[in-house]
Symmetry: C2
Subunit: 268 residues, 2 copies
């Protein structure tokens, strides 16, 4: 009996993370991975394992999560995308399906990922942005946050920016770009890197907020990157402001500037 031929598919997936326990299948609630694997099983009758570029936590969104899956029967990508989107609930959709080289692996082949944390910095909360942003009412000094964020770029020990877990790991990671931008009352913290630690972008953002309040000096990020412990950094902002924006696979795709995103609107 020879092993049957396998086809490797690359899926780009968007989801509103509000009601999920996260990307990964878990006993205590609905996950994006479980929904996708069930939909793929319904269509192909195969038991499949869907591998993502990385896990996203409960409540975290994805504009363009990437996943890979191996199927033993060949499929028509466009038809599979249509079938999947017909089966998936309104808060998950497959934006594209592609047949790729067998060596492709959503996590191992990824060259970099971009995360965006969105803050609404206004006295009042903004209902139309409530699901995808963190409302922070106290006035923030955005220029100070921008200057502080520059120190993140490069290869550093991010031990201060990782949630404490029982087993201690290597916390050295490489950040390709980091920026804080403001448009009206909306602030975006964009971080592109080759790898991320647990809660890393949320602790970076909380620390930058403390810089924006004047409670920490702008130089604090550089200081914290000298191997400081978790408790030396700022608070962890809530998950609903975070989104995985995109995953890049070819090194030529790695860029310093985020791609122009579509506009939203807010009169304030």
């Amino acid at each position: 009996m020879s092993a049957s031929t396998q086809y490797t598919l690359k899926l780009v997936i968007q989801y509103d993370g509000t009601r999920f326990v996260g990307w990964q299948r878990q006993a205590n609630g609905m996950s994006v991975q479980a929904l996708l694997e069930e939909a793929l099983h319904t269509i192909t009758r195969e038991q499949v394992h869907v591998e993502a570029s990385g896990r996203t936590d409960a409540g975290v969104h994805a504009w363009g999560q990437v996943a890979s899956v191996k199927l033993s029967k060949r499929v028509v990508p466009i038809r599979l995308r249509l079938s999947l989107n017909a089966l998936l609930p309104e808060d998950v959709a497959v934006l594209s399906v592609e047949i790729v080289d067998d060596g492709f692996h959503a996590r191992k082949s990824a060259k970099s990922k971009r995360y965006r944390y969105t803050i609404v910095n206004d006295h009042a909360r903004h209902p139309l942005l409530r699901r995808t942003s963190f409302h922070y009412a106290q006035k923030l000094d955005v220029a100070a946050m921008q200057r502080a964020a520059r120190a993140l770029v490069g290869k550093h020990d991010f031990a201060a920016f990782v949630k404490e877990t029982p087993r201690k790991r290597n916390c050295v990671r490489t950040i390709l770009s980091a920026s804080v931008t403001k448009n009206g009352v909306v602030l975006h913290v964009d971080v592109t890197g080759t790898g991320f630690l647990y809660n890393m972008v949320r602790i970076i953002t909380g620390t930058l907020i403390e810089v924006g309040l004047g409670r920490r000096p702008e130089s604090c990020i550089a200081d914290l990157l000298q191997g400081a412990p978790r408790e030396a950094a700022g608070f962890t902002v809530p998950p609903h402001g975070l989104a995985l924006v995109e995953v890049n696979y070819s090194s030529s795709e790695v860029h310093d500037l985020p791609r122009t995103p579509p506009e939203s609107e807010d009169s304030a």
Copy 2:
């Protein structure tokens, strides 16, 4: 007994229209007006009537609806805003409260309003945009839509762009600017005018979509503005893609270009 002194307030209100029967109080469901009047009554113990710049239909959103209200006791605007936002549910918020001249009336004093209709023009639906945009999968020729939209500007008879109602009204309105812009898969139809008819922006958008499909010539808008009947224009797009963006009160605020809105993101 002399009438007590009255204070006029201007409120800027944002709401996610998804679960409302619209701005206006109605017997068949929850309205934004009823929520605001109840919250104001709870705080001031006065029976108040809140007047908006205009009604928005069921499912339509507002980034900056404006309302006026008269109170017999003087209030501290910032404190009233905080109290209102503490009482209002998460899908409605008061962005600002101002004491204004007694002559101010949210509807009668308005010089112009800007509406935005958002279309996601992609094969796949986009879950993170599903509440505030209309998913339209067939490819649209945006340049043709842009050229067609130019004919809307000026004083015209919009009888073709109004939902048929039993009593026939004067359908002459003035549009100050109209544009179709594209950013990735997101299209925005922005229309600024001194007054709008029932379903006007939604019928304009449906007609522009038919131009974008090549089913109608670009010149059709100009032709329809020669007093054509409703059935000569295009379909009515659904309400959840529509938002009242802003209301302008001083003539100096009337501008041809929409203000820069904050960014959103979408990797596709």
